[in-house]
């Protein structure tokens, strides 16, 4: 599903955010990406989500070389990826249902389909009855579940999560990880960046460890 081939990424201010990183993640795998803050976890995810481009090396997503993707194609590749963020990135002036519907609206689904799918995904993340609420009236755990619902409503084949439990207490974190495992069970590839090692150990999933831009284990 994801293949990194000797990828390096340098920013103007940080000379080497990623150095010669190579790894492969298979379809339906659930993998954690760990390492200290600043080790390059976010940068790595951004390369997959096409927010950043590599300096050297190649990134493949579902067999497609991301180096050769034009600006025009980017939105269509992103529709195959469900992105989850530490700060949820919800639109606070829209209801929960509208937030979750955004990827469907963007992809041009019709009204009926959108309603049906939003209802189904609300059920899956355990937010039934909250569709008319606004994000700021929800707890952190609930807001993150809205973020997850938005990420999976379009049935992506890959979920990328950047510190999804970073703002949540351990109990809520476990709930979120459980949700991810459910997605894995239906064949979705899940790639989670986190520095919460207890979660990783408990889950028993494969772990990629980054240290100052280098992959030290994986």
């Amino acid at each position: 599903m994801i293949k990194f081939d000797r990828v390096s990424k340098g920013y103007a201010e940080v000379s080497d955010a990623l150095v010669n990183v190579s790894f492969t993640i298979g379809k339906g795998e659930m993998v954690f990406l760990t390492g200290r803050s600043g080790a390059g976890k976010s940068t790595l995810l951004k390369l997959i989500a096409l927010v950043e481009t590599v300096s050297r090396g190649q990134v493949f997503l579902d067999g497609q070389n991301l180096n050769r993707v034009s600006q025009r194609e980017i939105p269509f590749i992103r529709r195959k990826i469900g992105l989850i963020f530490q700060d949820y990135k919800l639109l606070n002036d829209r209801t929960v249902a509208d937030n979750i519907a955004l990827p469907l609206l963007v992809a041009g689904y019709n009204h009926q389909d959108i309603k049906r799918r939003v209802r189904a995904v609300l059920d899956k993340v355990g937010l039934v009855g909250k569709e008319k609420s606004y994000p700021l009236s929800l707890s952190g755990g609930e807001q993150q579940r809205v973020g997850i619902a938005r990420a999976v409503v379009n049935k992506p084949s890959l979920i990328l999560a950047d510190e999804p439990t970073g703002n949540l207490d351990p109990e809520l974190s476990t709930e979120i990880i459980c949700l991810f495992k459910q997605f894995k069970q239906v064949g979705v590839t899940v790639f989670v960046a986190t520095h919460d090692l207890t979660q990783v150990v408990e889950s028993g999933c494969r772990q990629l460890i980054l240290d100052r831009g280098r992959l030290v284990s994986g």
Binding site: A49, R79, K89, V106, N110
Partner: protein, 304 residues
Amino acid sequence: MKGFFIVHLQALLFSLGQQLRTPFSSILTIAVLSISIALSGLFYLLVKNVTYLTGHLETSNQITLFLGQQVSEQDGRQLQRQLEKHRNIQATRLITKAEGLKEFEHYSGFGDALKALNSNPLPMVVQIFPRLSLTTQQQLQQLLDELKGLPGVSVAKLDMQWVQRLKAIIVLVERAVLVLASILGFAVIFITGNTIRLELQNRQEEVVIAKLVGATNGFIARPFLYSGFWYGFLAGILALLMITGLMKLLQSPLEQLTRLYLGYQDVVFLSVLNSVILLAVSSLLGVVGAWGVLVMQLNRLKPE
């Protein structure tokens, strides 16, 4: 296809909703836009009215003969009768010194100034209406030269001259109005563009999130383009109201003015077609302004 229309309708209504949500800034923008548009419209009406009114002047070729002070009224009448028989003259009219004075008092408003004088300074005048078969400048000029040489005539004037000068001025004004209207049109584009830029900035977060979930630039641009359309369209409507109101205010003094100068009254308003064109152009300018900004800014907005 049905879905396509629904998506556009949604964007259209959504963008209107956005403007209603921030009524104060929307009204300010629309007011500024409508003033630019109304000015263009009023300039256009000015030219249209002047062209319309002077259009009638073409048939009013007149020659005015000012007789010398020493010519008696009797001689004047004789001259008039003589000219009446001229083959190139349709009609004549004699204005005696006394009549001239009366007319002058009535129309000029300087009657009191004249009363201060001991004697009537106005000359006797014979107005000549040439035959309508005399159409070219050359033919009229010939007649004028002939009349100039008559005894007792001190000055002969072809009134065509001021019509021609007026026409030249109108051509100049037309050009100037065209240039001004273009400048104001650009103002509309820039004002809308700047407003859309601010909207884009205010909704930056939303744009970035939409991009992250796979929105194309086209999808993101759509509501902003419709927003530009609404600005242009609503400003156009406001401008039409302003123009109509102003013309209503100006109507009676304008009519009085044209009556005094031209002897008839008629003020031209914007026609239905003019109004439709004005609305279409202002809406289009709004869309163009929004589009320009979106082309320049959308690719720059990236998830950090």
